[in-house]
Symmetry: C2
Subunit: 194 residues, 2 copies
Amino acid sequence: MTELEKGPLGRRRGRGARERILSASQQLFRDAGINRTGMDQLCAVAQVSKRTAYQHFTSKDELVAEYLRRFDPDIMPGVFDRTDLTPRERLLAAFELPASGTPELTPMCPYIAAAVELHDPQHAASQFARDYKKAIATRLAETAREAGAAHPEQLGEQLALLLDGAAARTRVLNSESFPTAAAIAAVLIDNAIP
Amino acid sequence: MTELEKGPLGRRRGRGARERILSASQQLFRDAGINRTGMDQLCAVAQVSKRTAYQHFTSKDELVAEYLRRFDPDIMPGVFDRTDLTPRERLLAAFELPASGTPELTPMCPYIAAAVELHDPQHAASQFARDYKKAIATRLAETAREAGAAHPEQLGEQLALLLDGAAARTRVLNSESFPTAAAIAAVLIDNAIP
DNA sequence: CGTTATATATACCGACCTGTGTGCTTAACG
DNA sequence: CGTTAAGCACACAGGTCGGTATATATAACG
């Protein structure tokens, strides 16, 4: 009953190596980048033999794609699922920093990082990054429509651009840029919602 | 008299190998990325022996830093130096696409790309990227002040974030995002300048 | 012309990379 | 308990990486 996760084929036995690999990927790809993280190092952190790793993922590229896929249900639900907020408040909440007392910077958006590092629009991970970014813009647009925005699609795309700008700029400047993005968002939302 | 460029020590002899190296860097780092471009490949494109390359640049890291330094006088002068425009028009011009008839995407901002690829804030290139981004924000703020903005520094930082957002998003989505950024900029500028 | 810095070609180095092959152990489930 | 899939350790292949060594050619200048 304490099943960790089903394997790729629906079977499951043994102890969850797959989970440890993906968990190590999240840590290392975030902290050191995808290209600078070797499979040996990754396996060491995951406490998994290399042989096992390559039985779960046929290549590093596939692991990277799966690593990105894992973020999907993790990030934005904290925003769009908050029924205690009005649609308008939800749009603004997307720009709030995760926890108020964190001294660390917002980590670089893994989708942008992957797209830049892999440098190949055909790569499965790049395609997934694209899909995810479009999905975010769509959800923002839906929420904008709920909030009564004049041009919800346009507002959704604009807010998505602000999120990406804040992520990129935080990384380059090494200082938090989300408050700036939030300020812009407030202006856009005020202008778009009567 | 047709001196190509002075070498690092002010001497010059032979034929401009340094220029060819930097030129090849621009092409390859943009098209294939920094990490995915090997020195062998780079030297082949530059038509330069590896020995020569390492006499001009003691390491690849140094070459990367110099490569970034080369962009400085090339990009934004086309905007801020246009005396035919009012300050307000100059702010908007920063978001216009380079040439109207280009079917290609705006190339990824090399500073963001380098910061993400190198993944080390201490790297000389990362530090230079930071300085450059701050300089752009400063110039935008100055122009905003000229244009009579209420809070020029804030507007400058906001417009800089829009530029970075458009660059990052263009790369991830593989479709042009600068028009969206321009639309936001127009709103911000209208709101900030009475 | 002769000197000398600058460029050349090519082979090489050690480190690290992704990915396999082999043989053995162990945990889970019927 | 016995079967079987999951995982283990470890060595190694084949390639690419950044960077160096050696020995030779040539362009620029006095």
